[in-house]
Symmetry: C2
Subunit: 106 residues, 2 copies
DNA sequence: ACATTATATTCTTTTTATAGAATATAGATT
DNA sequence: AATCTATATTCTATAAAAAGAATATAATGT
């Protein structure tokens, strides 16, 4: 499921940093690799994970067709937000039930 | 960091299902293992991961001291919510900037 | 054409995570 | 006391993830 891939993708510190870097502006692979202090191939692989999780997208600038620019994907957080909203609802229901239970058994 | 542990914890399908099960009501280890169709030791290990990520907590009922009941932890989603809020802010700033850029270069 | 640059893919090695089996611990039941 | 039950811990094997090196691809610059 996509939400699994997103959570797993963000579970890795390097990828979380990548997302945070892209939060400032779109970047080339090389710039990301430099910022992460990681070899380019490793960086490319992390980017693939983020791409497969639909968190980022690639684009080819017209001034140089070799370059790939990665940017946050507009709908990248949607599933995560939905899951978190549902989780929050569960959470508060469960906690309310627990509270009622505790009040009945003081 | 705790947020890393939370994201990584939720990245595993079994643990995500565990959280969703506990969203209905607190459960014993044995009940969770049965629901996941996973051996008890494996289940205990997943629960440890969730505990270490401060997502769930253990309690000992007084009617049987062998039993451990796991429940969602009240503050379990807080860091996640904060991170997501910050991420959303980044996201929309970045997308707005991209939009401005696109409008300048039609 | 040749060298260089940007990125991706493949392969290998190392690390980490997971499952599964066996055992440990502690408490309940008879 | 002996046995059974609930859960945790340890150990081993396996699978998956990560880094690193080497190579591939494709475009640019000379």
């Amino acid at each position: 499921m996509l939400i699994d891939r997103k959570l797993a993708a963000l579970g890795d510190p390097m990828r979380r940093r990548t997302v945070e870097l892209l939060g400032e502006r779109p970047l080339r692979v090389g710039e990301i690799a430099a910022a992460l202090e990681l070899p380019q191939p490793a960086t490319s692989k992390h980017l693939k994970v983020l791409r497969d999780a639909h968190m980022v997208e690639e684009s080819h600038p017209d001034y140089d067709a070799r370059v790939r620019i990665y940017a946050l994907r507009a709908d990248g957080l949607d599933d995560l937000k939905h899951w978190l909203q549902a989780a929050e609802a569960m959470w508060s229901r469960q906690l309310a039930a627990f509270k009622r239970h505790a009040e009945r058994n003081p």
